[in-house]
Subunit: 364 residues, 2 copies
């Protein structure tokens, strides 16, 4: 079946591009002498996680316990929950999982560590722990320095926990190639400061985890970093493209959509709105619009209703007509995927299968 015969809107994954993206990142990490522990939040699909591990990833990263369960059920063995897990119900589930698989958790608070310890002891299991420090994104994480070593020392004393190292998120590495290079270079200092504090306190550090897709190509230049956790690179999106961190031909996912109305002069309406694309704005490049219409680059997708995409056709050479099928590259693939229960797989524009997005909606 040709991809254009799919019922719309549909999320379409080009397998040839995915495989190339996976190969490229695996090679980039090898060349930089750094491990890869990809974040699965982008694809939420065990099939893709297994492809990542087959290419040398040392494990996978998730944000939620429910995602960890999905990955474990899909055969993944080493799972980092890069998120401070809090709450008795979630901790019970995660401790159960840690009895069967290697589970690592990041945290930045003593109380969080204590609760993890209690859950691990109750389930007779062990969590590997990474202490999160803040490298400038100002989201989670202690100041890089003595605070990290102090928390690590406390963790070392808690039963059921094994302190493994440090984690940070390079969320501030964003923008043009020059901006990203400069900001990635700025990461050298917080990483060094955190490591110095650990050395001063004689706390051994096995893992120093950082990175993101926009930072990946520069991470080899950060001394002490042992691994990165990029997510987006598997599919890429307009944010990645407009940062120069991928080429257009590296965007592996498009949303197939149908023009449903051209009745209002100058507009065309498509059947992909915010419940299909997500309403995430574009955070790079022109920072306007909700996706790129591949068949009409001169027609901005300027607004989303829940089930309508509003296309401005006034300055376009494309003649939109009702029933026409179009392809859209989304702004942000991670939130877009999360709208879909199913991903349709293509090679050379032929539908060759589908994946269930098994981690979709696993918010707990």
């Amino acid at each position: 079946m040709n991809v254009h015969e799919l019922s719309t809107p549909a999320l379409v994954v080009d397998l040839d591009i995915v495989e190339r993206n996976l190969d490229t990142m695996a090679r980039l990490c090898r060349q930089q002498g750094i491990h890869l522990r990809p974040h699965t939040k982008t694809h939420k699909t065990p099939e893709v996680a297994r492809m990542q591990v087959e290419r040398g990833a040392i494990g996978v990263t998730v944000a939620k316990v429910g995602e960890a369960e999905v990955m474990a059920a899909g055969g993944l063995d080493e799972i980092l929950v890069a998120y401070p897990v809090i709450g008795a119900e979630k901790l019970r589930r995660l401790a159960m999982l840690a009895g069967e698989r290697s589970v690592l958790v990041s945290l930045d608070d003593e109380r969080t560590a204590q609760e993890l310890s209690r859950a691990a002891v109750n389930a007779d299991s062990t969590f590997g722990i990474l202490v999160e420090f803040d490298s400038g994104y100002r989201r989670c994480g202690l100041q890089p320095g003595p605070a990290c070593a102090q928390l690590a020392a406390k963790i070392e004393k808690l039963p059921g926990l094994r302190f493994l190292g440090l984690m940070t998120y390079f969320g501030s590495v964003w923008g043009s190639a020059d901006e990203r290079r400069e900001e990635a270079h700025r990461m050298v200092e917080p990483v060094a400061r955190a490591l110095e504090a650990m050395a001063a306190a004689h706390v051994p550090v096995e893992i120093v985890s950082g990175g993101s897709t926009p930072a990946a190509e520069f991470c080899g230049q950060i001394p002490g970093l042992t691994e990165i956790r990029p997510g987006t690179y598997v599919y890429n999106d307009l944010n990645t493209l407009y940062q120069g961190a991928c080429r257009l031909e590296d965007c592996a996912v498009h949303i197939l959509t149908t023009v449903v109305s051209t009745a209002v002069t100058g507009h065309a309406m498509i059947d992909a709105g915010s419940k299909t694309l997500s309403s995430d704005p574009l955070s790079a490049g022109a920072k306007a619009g909700f996706g790129r219409i591949m068949e009409a680059l001169d027609a901005p997708l300027f607004k989303l209703s829940e089930e309508h995409g509003h296309v401005d056709a006034t300055k376009s050479e494309h003649r939109f007509c009702v029933g026409e099928v179009l392809s859209i590259i989304p702004n942000h693939i991670c939130t877009c995927i999360n709208m879909h229960d199913e991903a349709f797989l293509i090679r050379n524009n032929q539908v060759v299968g589908s994946w269930r997005v098994a981690g979709r909606g696993k918010i707990r």
Copy 2:
């Protein structure tokens, strides 16, 4: 179980408030002498749809064929798909449904009508058809006037279709009470123009469907309008609140969330991000922020990552601490609900059950 014992993040529905909201809208419509055909896109839950019909709604509205199937499976008999359905696969499914239930479809294009006719004939079923006209929102719909009558006349000749009337969406009715009243009053003219054209062409009109939650209280003043299709009123949200179209105590849904990190000075991180709340911006009031933290009104939820809500605590009197559970009223409840597979039900802060959000993700 007290609501605060739920694992977070969780979508919580206060049943007492929902019942009151349903009663209020049912009464408002009766008082205005207008029918209610509520849009189920807000709740996506057959249980709520049945509560609406029990209170006098003449049927329900959906946007997608998949939503229509969910509502039909949930026992709803009269379903308006307020969306131009295009594509063979979706039309086959909808025609099958129309063999068992009363199915109405809106459209604004002759080709769409022809394809619906073909599908109906093939399945030996009938679609009721509403011709959509544009009352100023510039999304779908013909210009109100002769074009509507011409399309209606063509529909009357197509087998398997039964022309029933006109539909428009009052999306331009938005803002303060005064702005909404004024814009709702402006709706009188396009409705009248559309009806005049139908009368001139001797096309009988049974249904004239309009409305939205922000327009609901003014719709009785629009001559010719027979029904409205509000959706949001069942739960309400910050957009509704800041337009003065509901009170704070009418907001029936909150997101229960846990503080997961306070390590970065001046910030608190919660476990509700864009994959829990949706990234829809606030479109009314101050038009800033991603939700209202009920326990700390002076602490803006200023940014969302996928799984983190970023709270600015610098000017707040509230002392955020890790593990603390908070309640958030979302900006836009329709996109927020769509992130959740399950809604937890409370009365007097006690959990009394849950609903599966059965229509979530039914994008086709």
